[in-house]
Symmetry: C2
Subunit: 450 residues, 2 copies
């Protein structure tokens, strides 16, 4: 039996009633965390452009946009996907290097709203979507990630899986939906050189392509039956090496969504470990910043592929500069959305500190990646002292978790565009999602937003 068929059978067999309570509760937090990022992102210029594109195209008012108004279900997935990745605070799964929320949740939300489905349906679809894309991501990590943005490429399968469940597709249709998803999978890392807006296009398009795949499959549109493992399929075309057993090992016996990590700092996940250590250093000691002569950041190769930038010129690029993020966290003692701004980007103290940061690969840490996203920081002071700190897990990883309260607070902070009343209503809806009869009710919060 091919992998797509095994995934299809898993998707059909997974129902709300056999998802453990703790998984249901955790999934609600993932969805709440999605809304925080999406709302914070919804006012950003690139998201506005994608929104304007959707408005220009028009469409049936099937699903609500976090940017305000309604559009077709495909375009809602596009806009709501683009919105939720931009503040760099959306969730992350280490082993697959995927931000699942920004692709799976907007696709599932749009279809669930359109089809008048319930909170239980949404939870089930999101659990399934995460499972499918995490497994495919793990199968191709790390080699795929060099060129490809896993969130987009593997995410497309997750979105298609979630949509397939919501549309109640039968097994054969799901295989076709996954085939169409894989043959639309795209998203190259090249944009990072320019800090271009593709990073928003990727999750939006992945969510939209997942919706298209599901809807076409429902109409009988066929796709490759072995899109993953086939001779000219996703694995061989887009990865130097892969382990297809990751797709099916323990499938249906565990819930990978529980491995999901949450972000507290508003930058690329590969900068968080170093930022955590810098913030700890500030909190633990009365270190005088003037004493710092050099900061050596030793980490895994992939982190440097994405974040080795010693002179970020834009706010956005600064979130992908390990040098900047390390300096910012040390100077400001925090790493939330508020500190990533123009003022701090050109702040003399931060810039000076950034000049003292050197980044390099540590072979041991590199060997343990991606199971551990580790870092070792050596701070040398002018008095001859040397402070060394090390961590294997950035804050928000399952091994170093955040609490529900911390996540609720993060949401309330990110969702500032909404009134406190609306924020509390949305948060309450999501936290009792199992009782919500129609997803429409949740999305009504956004109708009047702009």
């Amino acid at each position: 039996m091919g992998l797509s068929k095994k995934l299809a059978s898993y998707i059909i067999d997974t129902n709300y009633d056999n998802i453990p309570e703790e998984v249901v509760e955790f999934t609600k937090l993932c969805i709440l965390d999605y809304f925080g990022s999406a709302i914070a992102g919804s006012t950003k210029a690139p998201v506005k452009m994608v929104h304007d594109f959707a408005v220009e195209m028009g469409g049936e008012p099937q699903a609500t946009l976090v940017t305000g108004g309604k559009t077709s279900v495909a375009q809602a997935a596009l806009v709501n996907g683009a919105a939720s990745h931009i503040v760099e605070l959306d969730d992350i799964h280490k082993a697959s290097i995927i931000h699942a929320a920004t692709v799976v949740v907007p696709a599932a939300l749009a279809v669930a709203e359109w089809k008048k489905l319930s909170g239980k349906d949404l939870i089930t679809a999101v659990v399934i979507g995460y499972e499918v894309c995490y497994r495919i991501g793990e199968a191709v990590t790390p080699s795929h990630y060099y060129y490809w943005h896993n969130t987009a490429t593997c995410g497309t399968f997750g979105a298609a899986a979630a949509v397939s469940k919501l549309l109640e597709l039968h097994e054969e249709q799901i295989v076709h939906a996954l085939g169409s998803a894989g043959t639309q999978a795209a998203g190259l890392w090249e944009f990072i050189e320019d800090g271009a807006m593709s990073k928003q296009l990727h999750p939006g398009k992945a969510a939209m392509n997942g919706v298209i795949s599901g809807l076409l499959a429902q109409k009988g549109f066929t796709g490759a039956s072995e899109i993953l493992e086939g001779d000219r399929g996703f694995f061989r075309a887009m990865s130097e090496s892969f382990d297809e057993s990751k797709v099916t090992n323990n499938l249906g016996k565990e819930f990978k969504i529980m491995e999901n990590g949450f972000k507290i700092h508003a930058s690329c996940r590969h900068t968080h470990h170093a930022m955590d250590l810098m913030i700890d250093l500030r909190n633990e000691s009365d270190l005088s910043l003037d004493l710092v002569e050099s900061i050596k950041v030793k980490t895994y190769q992939v982190a440097l592929n994405i974040t080795d930038n010693d002179s970020p010129e834009t706010e956005y690029a600064s979130k992908f500069s390990l040098q900047y993020c390390t300096a910012l966290a040390l100077v400001k003692g925090e790493g939330g959305l508020d500190v990533f701004n123009q003022e701090n980007l050109w702040n003399e103290d931060v810039r000076n500190m950034m000049g003292k940061v050197e980044v390099e690969v540590d072979p041991d840490i590199d060997d343990n990646y991606p199971e551990k996203w580790g870092v070792k920081v050596e701070v040398s002071l002018s008095n001859g002292e040397k402070i060394t700190k090390q961590t294997d897990y950035p804050k928000g990883d399952t091994e170093n978790p955040v609490t529900e309260i911390e996540l609720q607070n993060k949401f309330l902070k990110l969702a500032k565009k909404l009134s406190i009343n609306e924020r509390e209503r949305l948060s309450a809806y999501v936290l009792r999602l199992g009782d919500i009869e129609k997803i429409e009710k949740i999305m009504s919060v956004f109708i009047k937003v702009r």
Copy 2:
């Protein structure tokens, strides 16, 4: 200067007035040929499904569907792209292995109609779109083609280029549009194993993604500035080897659309050379089919990668079976749309003949590919006689061209869904496209179609 910037500068500098008359005339034939394929394809089940998806999503009535009605410009590109590849009679460029019409023309038509542009604008955009995707395709051929459907992947750039011209984007915006195009480029060959409908999804999505790229760039949405040649860009991620000089050599000094080939047989281009030889054999001699003992078809490797199938089970799959196509052409003496049907698929004479066909790689022919798409056919008869025929160019190649009359006749045959009156009107419009003030006028032929 990066490749995208050079392409952008070429796109800006190319205007109707500097396109030679013979190129203008030839481009009209390309567009006429597009309409033939699109109209013939518009009634097919997979195309109907994509049409139904667009109707389900809704959208502003910006552009006309060859399947009837109007929808948003992005969705019109999707449907009209999906429609024009399915009867396997759309044009082909050997050196890049791209069917440009099915991606570039629907994208350009939709935007030109929407923006109330002229026939001259359309011609200019189509010339540009072909140029850009052929060049990118040549740069990555042959290695890219093993996994990737060039028409879709490289075609996306062609669609984006044509749309950029029609929207009068400035240089920087065009660079961004190409960046967005490249990071959406997708389309794996894996579907061919199942004869799945992805082959229609690919050009449709490529056309749509080209439109999205152009429209987003117009709004200020940025993309990678070196999406082709960058370290994590299109070339390195998706080709084992590539020659970037192909993108810019003689750019602006020649018109690659003139290298376009047209298809007369309704099957994969890689089967045409052998079919031509079989039809010639029938026309030249009074060969008795009973005498045929074996037929050895020697060709290049890529042809076998796609068309080595000795037992096609569906009409669609039969168009990708070199064995079937060779037998069909020999038994029926022709290879047009009419002979690819259920009856012939299960016809005993054709099936018997197919059993006698063996296919293999000829190293000399393989060495000359893709400049020459050659074949050598050895027919052994039971009387001991052996007939050998060879060709380097299938009928319709520039080296073995079809006439304007042949193309008009092909159009009239393919467009049978329209009344003869409508067909002649559409053909006349296209052949005097330089005088048409608004593309809307041409597309009005389809408004009442269903």
